[in-house]
C-alpha cells in the first residue's frame, strides 16, 4: 500500500543502463539525498508517464488549433475582430 491508500503494483523489470544512474541523483527529481532506489524509480516512472500524457495532449491541442486556423470564416473573423476592437476605443 502506498501513500494515501493507493495500491501499488509490484513488477520486476530491466532497468536500462542510462536510468541506472538515477538513484544516485534523487535531487534531480526533487527528492532528498538518501532516498531509496525503489522510491526514486517509482517517481521516475510517474514523471515519465505524466510527460508522455502531457506531450500527447499538447500534440492534439496543436493539431486542433492548426485545423481551426485554416477555417476561412475564422481568418475573416480575426481580421474583423481586430478592427472592431481597435476602433471601439478599449485600448
Amino acid at each position: 500500500m502506498g501513500k494515501g491508500g493507493v495500491v501499488l503494483k509490484r513488477v520486476s523489470l530491466s532497468i536500462p543502463e542510462d536510468v541506472q544512474q538515477a538513484p544516485r541523483h534523487p535531487d534531480y527529481l526533487g527528492l532528498p539525498q538518501g532516498t531509496s532506489q525503489s522510491k526514486v524509480l517509482e517517481n521516475l516512472l510517474l514523471i515519465g508517464w505524466r510527460t508522455v500524457k502531457r506531450q500527447r495532449a499538447e500534440a492534439q491541442e496543436l493539431a486542433l488549433y492548426a485545423a481551426y486556423e485554416k477555417d476561412p470564416e475564422r481568418i475573416a473573423a480575426s481580421t474583423s475582430t481586430q478592427r472592431m476592437t481597435l476602433r471601439s476605443g478599449v485600448v
Partner: protein, 246 residues
Amino acid sequence: MPLLRGTIHELTDVPDASPGSRGFAVLTNNRWNAVMTAIGGAVVRPEILPFETSYSVQLRDGRFATAARVLSVRAPDAAPPGDPSPIGPSQGSLTDEELAALEDGFVRFLQIPMLLSTIPTARRPVGDATTSPIWGELYRGREPIAGARKRFLVVSPNAWNQATKIASVVRTTAQTKADVAQFPPIHGRRARACCGDLSTFGPSELLMARRDRPDPATCTLKEMTAVVRGIMVTHDLADAARRAAT
C-alpha cells in the same frame, strides 16, 4: 517567431495615446501562439478606471495590465495588407508574480470561482439587455464577417458592462465541429463558442436593439460554465483557478 505567453509588446498606432504608453501582455497559451495568427492578451495602460483595479495588476514600470480588456489581435507576421498588426516591439515581460496576479484578476473577471463551484452561480441578467451588454447574452457584431453579422457571447460581468458599456465577448460559429473544451457547444450543439478568440468591444460594435438580437439570445448557466472552462484552456488559467479555489 511565435509570441510567448507573459511577454509584453508595444501596442502601436493607438489614437490619443503617446507612443509606447500602451502594451499588450500575451495571455493565450504557447501552443495557441505557435500555430494561430491571432493572439490573445491583456491591454497594458498608464491608467485604469477605479473599478478596474480588482481585475488588474500594476507593473514595475507603473503601468497597469488589465484583464478587463483582453484582446485578440493579429500577430505581427500574420497581418494581411491593409489591416496591420497593432503589436509592436517587445517591452519586456511580466514577472512570475505579475503574471499570476493578472491571471487572478482574469479569473475574477470571468467569475470562474462562482461558475466552477459545486453549485454554479453567477449574476444572471439584470437591467435592460438593449442598453448595455449582459453576461450570458448573445449579440450580433456591427461589422459583417464573411457576409453575415456574426454572434458574440458576452462573458464579462454585468457590473463592468453597465459601468463602461464595453464588454468581453467570444465569437460563436457553426463551422467548427471539434468536440473539445476550447469550442464548447451552445444552443443544443447548433453552434460553438470560440474561446481562444476572446476579445473586447466598445458600445458601438455590438447591435443592441431588440430587433437585431439573435434567436435564441441567451446561453444557459451550464453552457457559460463550459465557455469559461474553454477560456481556462486557451488562456492557461487552470493554475489561477486552482489558486482561487483554495
